[in-house]
């Protein structure tokens, strides 16, 4: 039976999910629901779970965070006094040493691809969690079974995220070996801080997804957990979208 409020509007499944903590809880004696958990039909003004609204507010705030970082990078673009520079070579006037443009665009294109694919895996993970209760069609093949596996897609998302971080670790290390640290010049300061902040966000996301994976192994994620996964997915997609901006503005646009 599809739940609906009295005005006939369907109540989104996320509102009815177990994860939704009673916030303006009104009725302690609601009928016990499936799975032995008490289900609270909590009225909220929008019909959405409050956590869904809060994550959007959080993402709005994060937009300003990255906007500040990216603006600073752009303001300081081309203002470094000493090299290495991102897109052009630099000759050290003291030593005569020539430093090549430091950005490795092919490698970063690969890591960008990896991160974007993680968003695809995230979408599939959420779909698998939402549809966990639906029986597989008769004669379901390997493809159907794979699509229905939330563990597979959560693993894929985590590993692709970790892969992106590995690329970043490689990039940072090689830059340091080539003579660019966070102290070297304005490019180094802005570059490492901006991409480092993004990497920290990816790391937080991988840990977050890891906890969902742990829950999946412990008791299995199902439709009642869809909101939890949905919120993590929103964050994950946001971090990906930010990377598209960073990749375009830092790597693809030359000086």
């Amino acid at each position: 039976m599809r739940a609906a409020d009295s005005a006939g509007r369907p109540i989104p499944s996320s509102v009815l999910s177990l994860g939704a903590q009673p916030l303006v809880s009104a009725n302690a004696h609601a009928a016990p629901a499936h799975g032995g958990h008490e289900e609270h039909h909590h009225y909220t003004t929008t019909g959405l779970d409050s956590r869904k609204i809060a994550i959007w507010a959080f993402i709005g705030s994060e937009c300003m965070l990255f906007a500040s970082l990216i603006s600073t990078y752009l303001i300081y673009k081309g203002r470094s006094i000493v090299g290495p520079f991102p897109h052009t070579a630099w000759t050290n006037p003291q030593t005569g040493q020539v430093m090549k443009p430091i950005l490795n665009i092919p490698v970063t294109s690969a890591s960008t691809f990896v991160l974007l694919m993680s968003s695809l895996a995230m979408v599939l993970a959420l779909a698998a969690v939402e549809n966990k209760d639906k029986p597989l069609p008769a004669g379901a093949g390997l493809g159907d079974r794979m699509l229905a596996s939330s563990k597979l897609w959560l693993w894929a998302t985590c590993l692709l995220g970790a892969g992106f971080l590995a690329f970043q670790a490689y990039e940072f290390t090689s830059f340091v070996h080539e003579g660019l640290t966070i102290k070297t010049n304005l490019f180094g300061s802005t570059f490492f801080t901006l991409t480092g902040f993004h990497g920290a966000h990816v790391t937080a996301g991988v840990i977050w997804l890891g906890t969902l994976l742990a829950i999946d192994y412990k008791r299995g994620l199902g439709p009642k957990d869809a909101l939890n996964v949905d919120i993590a997915a929103l964050y994950w997609h946001f971090v990906d979208v930010v990377w598209i901006a960073i990749f375009t503005l830092l790597y693809l646009i030359p000086d």
Binding site: D5, S6, A7, Q21, P22, L23, V24, S25, A26, N27, A28, H29, E38, H41, Y43, T44, T45, T46, L48, S50, I53, A54, A57, F58, G60, S61, E62, M64, L65, S68, L69, T72, I75, Y76, R79, S80, I81, I182, K183, N185, L186, G188, S189, T190, T193, F197
Partner: protein
């Protein structure tokens, strides 16, 4: 099925509810957290006031030696920082906490434990940044900490480290609270309370939350740059490495100007409750009041560079920011006129709250007019960095925000404690405060126009400033007894004040339809709202006959305890009524403490690496551990 008529024999503390200090440390009740905010921020308000008095003492006469130059730097830095981040913002937060759920008809905020976390982070962050002044090690680079001057080169000591990390901590508190309150307003309104029926305080608070959400990340990043420059030797503000010396100013004021609206809008909201109630009329021009608040919020992000007219931005930049600054006076002026028209033709009751509200209108208008006078760059060049600016922002912040907050305290005290504050003492407080405030800050217009710069720790005689400084100092000294009267009144009225009925001022909004102090569950039955003044619909229908009444948004929720607008007079426990409440928990407290220990470790890094690593390690372990325990515990116990 539990009803209001349920047997009251249930022992109120039968189920392991915490008592004494633990009840405060573990509370998740928005009203208790609001009370904690109120007391803590009043403490910091007094503290910041004493810092100001010390400065005024030093400036009383030429060439005084009450404090040294460096101590004076610490005093003005901490006075500004304290008043902005530790007094006015959290005083507003006290009202957000206490009033938003009550005005919305909700039983708590959206995230009660996050709410407790915000408070504890604020408390620990406030102590973190305040304690150093006892050893004269406090931040000394001004409350806006202009880099490169606040960088390691020019501010080598630990002083500015406290500031950089302390403000970062306080930002966490403000942001967490802002997500919480924005969500609460969006999602926890009583049936029928559409946005255009929200009480004006909640409206202005709602706008404020968006300002916090969008402005604080910018200062976070500016602080990260400064922190990296100071701790890790990066180049963000290193002019020798090609950095732009204006970067900090731009980032700071992109945050800093919305911040001044973060400070004033809640006070505007409070007087928008006090004025209609005590004029016995609906608020004049309600929709325009709401829209002007939103417009102030929008424009507030487009005026930041008027703080920087003196840096030489060029004619285009100066013109644009001059025009936006003049524009923002329009919605602000609209508010002033609407308050006056609210009182116009009303039968006005001059309570202490009402006096402070009218005081806000008068004093904020003076501050607004001096503000317009420096929206013009040529005029501003004569005024910038002089005492004229000090006069201006004290008229808007003291005359505006603080007067509004005092008004709110007198008005809502009976709701919080079930007793009135003493009106006679309130009147004394108002007049002393009003006179002393003008005595302190009005002469600064003149000393500023005569060229007295801000932030000087002393001055030579016979520059035409002597008399004005003496008057200002006399005013500052007079503010002390004024505040003392308030403090005495506040604490003595808690116990001995005249008992107040639930609707102490015959007001119109939901918070007055329940007992005072409100029971833990707020509303036994959630009311359904048909107009902006649901309580006057019951008690004074003649006052609301011109206000639109509809059934709009009045969905039936399917909850058995949602009923038509009514008045609740009896107090029960949530258990008696079968209302599940968030469990008390200590975890937000420890999580917040862990975070602050982590920051303390970071602070130690340049001085003692072992202590630094230890602090960061212990703090991070606490943060992660208690956060994990928090997130894996349900909000409510299962009944």
């Amino acid at each position: 099925m539990a009803t209001v008529a349920a047997s009251p024999t249930y022992a109120s503390h039968a189920t392991g509810e915490k008592e004494g200090i633990m009840a405060w440390l573990t509370t998740t009740d928005h009203k208790k957290i609001g009370t904690l905010y109120l007391h803590t921020s009043l403490f910091f308000f007094i503290f910041g006031g004493l810092e100001a008095v010390l400065m005024r003492w030093q400036l009383m006469k030429p060439n005084m030696t009450v404090v040294t130059a460096d101590q004076f730097n610490q005093l003005f830095t901490m006075h500004g920082t304290t008043m902005v981040f530790l007094a006015i913002m959290p005083l507003s937060a006290a009202f957000f906490n206490y009033l938003i759920p009550l005005q919305l008809g909700a039983r708590d905020v959206a995230f009660p434990r996050l709410n407790a976390f915000s408070y504890w982070v604020y408390l620990f962050g406030g102590l973190f940044i305040t304690i150093p002044i006892f050893g004269w090690m406090a931040p000394n680079g001004g409350w806006f900490a202009y880099a490169p001057l606040s960088g390691r080169t020019y501010s080598p000591g630990i002083n500015m480290d406290f500031w950089v990390l302390g403000i970062q901590i306080l930002g966490v508190s403000s942001l967490a609270a802002a997500f919480n309150f924005a969500t609460t307003v969006i999602n926890l309104r009583a049936p029928g309370m559409n946005l255009m029926r929200m009480p004006m305080f909640t409206w202005m608070s709602f706008v404020t939350q968006f300002l916090i959400i969008l402005a604080f990340p910018v200062i976070t990043i500016a602080l990260v740059f400064l922190q990296f420059d100071r701790f890790f030797g990066t180049n963000f503000y290193q002019v020798s490495a090609g950095a732009d010396p204006l970067l900090w100013q731009h980032l700071f004021w992109v945050f800093g100007h919305p911040e001044v609206y973060i400070l004033i809008l809640p006070a505007f909201g409070l007087v928008s409750e006090v004025l209609p109630t005590n004029s016995k009329k609906p608020l004049f021009g309600y929709p325009v009041m709401a829209y002007s608040g939103i417009l102030i919020g929008f424009l507030g992000f487009g005026v930041w560079a008027h703080h920087m007219f003196a840096v030489g931005m060029g004619p285009i930049g100066d013109t644009v920011f001059s025009l936006t600054t003049m524009l923002i006076a329009i919605p602000t002026g609209v508010k002033i006129f609407n308050w006056i028209f609210t009182m116009w033709g009303g039968s006005i009751r001059f309570t202490a709250a009402m006096k402070f509200a009218i005081g806000l209108i008068a004093l904020f208008t003076i501050g607004g007019i001096s503000g317009i006078s420096h929206s013009s760059p040529p005029s501003d060049l004569q005024q910038t960095d002089t005492y004229y600016i000090v006069a201006h922002f004290h008229y808007v912040l003291f005359g505006g925000a603080i007067m509004g907050i005092f008004s709110g305290i007198y008005h809502y005290f009976p709701k919080m404690y079930g007793r009135y504050m003493n009106e006679t003492l309130g009147t004394w407080h108002f007049w002393l405060n009003f006179i002393a405030m003008n005595l302190t800050f009005f002469p600064m217009h003149f000393s500023g126009m005569l060229g007295m710069p801000r932030r000087i720790y002393t001055y030579d005689a016979n520059q035409g400033w002597d008399t004005f400084n003496m008057i200002s100092t006399a005013g500052a000294f007079l503010l002390m007894p004024a505040t003392l009267i308030f403090i005495y009144n506040f604490f003595s009225s808690k116990k001995g004040g005249e008992p107040a009925p639930p609707n102490a001022w015959d007001a119109a909004t939901l918070e007055w339809s329940i007992p005072s102090p409100p029971p833990e569950y707020n509303f036994a039955k959630i009311p359904v709202v048909h107009s902006r003044y649901p309580l006057w619909d019951l008690t004074h229908p003649e006052r609301t006959k011109d206000v639109p009444h509809t059934d709009a948004g009045m969905v039936h929720t399917g909850e058995h305890d949602v009923v038509d607008m009514h008045i609740e007079t009896e107090t029960f426990t949530a258990k008696q009524l079968g209302i599940p409440m968030p469990s008390a928990t200590i975890k937000p407290f420890w999580t917040a403490l862990g975070m602050v220990i982590m920051f303390t470790g970071l602070l130690m890094m340049p001085h003692n690496k072992t202590a630094g690593y230890a602090g960061i390690g212990v703090g991070a372990a606490m943060l992660v551990g208690f956060l994990y325990a928090w997130l894996t515990t349900p909000l409510e116990e299962h009944h």
